[in-house]
Symmetry: C2
Subunit: 285 residues, 2 copies
């Protein structure tokens, strides 16, 4: 497992503007983005959270008819494209699970088919009314783009989760995102970009994060699409609006957790200094 | 402990360029920075790591004569200024501890005197040859700038530490820093800025981080001085070179860990999803 060679791959992230409720048009837009990523030679293309349905649904009844199982038309179409282009697609979709429950999910598909469906574990705001939360973290999957794991949007606020994915061996954390501004100013150094950088730097993993764009029912978005390399260096950010960004990243660099000659971001942890007493866990409640 | 009023305080961070070995001149520069912060009405001023000695020492023998105890002239001078200006000073200094060991320490001083000396727990690179690492995290201290805790430079790479400080009740994490570029490009979205933003956003705390500047024995610095508010919004960054940056921040906002109407960055954690097996802790070794 030592870091003994480079795997230089193009990591692409599509910043899309789905039309709420128009799954067919939105799916077509994802396929065009995948084709564009392939034309750039990408090994991985990340699509936003819920990119085939849109996000700002009034209630579960409105999104339910748009949800698909993991063998539905969206993941079949992504798999066809992934096979044709020999790349990995990570994208968010509204899933109807085996119990009929709605999930805010992200699929990892490649030429071998649907490799995994991760169900968002940390639900944001009204997502709690629409979706059932996932109960396990993403697997780490060996792919042509290195070992890929998934986190979705608000998941990134929890460094405990991404630390665990890195310890599981992820080279790349792919992040489908729909990050509402909710009245915050739109700034280039937004929290979502900072969280991506910190995830990369603290864990020495690549982060490929695809946010959405396009006003939807009064909601604007952070447009926090970004590619960060395992040194924590931002390699690409998206200009406003729809677009595809990408960068060539040595994802195998993530297999060496050394930082400089004397440091190592896993070995240097001091767990004995991080323990907290249960009584202090909720200082404000 | 509920968040029921604002405490709007000016948080200041001094980006300084110490001259290696010239403690007297460096101390004078810190006092001028404290005075300047006071003139802006600051309640807290953060000074860089090791700001009285410089950083790039050849060996412990070179820095040993420059180290001071916690009742030495540097902390006495900072305390005098803190008392005169009714503000809090957090600054890094080379400490000779009660056993005679060298420590990379940061003091919290205010009108009541030296409130705490935190000894850097995660040592970077050759610091391991110069200093003994600390064995506890910073206390959280009630001050005129809210509840203040300290982390020093590379400590910020470990979100486990800053999460613990936030759970301990910190409103503000003050970060003395000396962040060598070590060949990295100087970019505004550097890892150190991302780590500060992520610390603030993940924990809903303010972060006041003071990096250094000025080439020293071939070392350049990230100049990652920044003030971030508890919403994860960057409120001030430093232009290149020596200077003081500050921003008015409601530090009591840190006492409400809610984010929007339905979320809470402590309560939303899913610890059962973060567990790792010891065998996976070191995938690259």
């Amino acid at each position: 497992l030592a870091y003994n060679h480079r795997l230089l791959v193009e990591l692409a992230c599509a910043q899309l503007a789905p039309t709420i409720g128009d799954v067919q048009a939105n799916r077509e837009a994802t396929l065009r983005a995948i084709d564009e990523a392939a034309a750039r030679g990408a090994a991985l293309v990340v699509l936003p959270e819920l990119c085939t349905t849109g996000y700002a649904f009034a209630d579960a009844g409105e999104i339910a008819p748009l949800a698909e199982p993991a063998d539905g038309p969206t993941l079949r179409a992504w798999t066809d494209r992934a096979r044709r282009h020999r790349l990995v697609v990570v994208g968010g979709f509204a899933e109807r699970d085996e119990d009929g429950a709605l999930r805010n999910s992200a699929a990892v598909v490649d030429g071998d088919g649907v490799r995994a469906v991760y169900r968002k574990a940390h639900l944001w705001s009204r997502e709690r009314e629409l979706f059932r939360a996932g109960d396990r973290r993403s697997p780490v999957l060996d792919t042509v783009a290195g070992r890929v794991a998934v986190a979705v949007c608000y998941d990134m606020v929890f460094p405990e989760l991404t630390r665990a994915l890195a310890l599981d061996g992820a080279d790349v954390i792919a992040v489908p995102m729909n990050s509402p501004l909710d009245g915050r100013p739109r700034v280039p150094l937004c929290a979502e970009i900072g969280l991506a950088i910190a995830c990369a730097a603290s864990n020495r993993v690549a982060v490929a994060q695809a946010d959405r764009t396009g006003e939807e029912r009064g909601t604007d978005w952070a447009e926090a699409t970004v590619v960060v390399d395992p040194d924590g260096i931002v390699r690409a950010t998206a200009p406003p609006g729809v677009g595809l960004v990408s960068a060539a990243v040595d994802v195998h660099a993530a297999r060496d957790k050394s930082w400089g000659p004397s440091n190592h971001v896993f070995a240097d942890r001091r767990p004995e200094l991080y323990t907290t007493h249960p009584d202090t866990e909720r200082p404000d409640r």
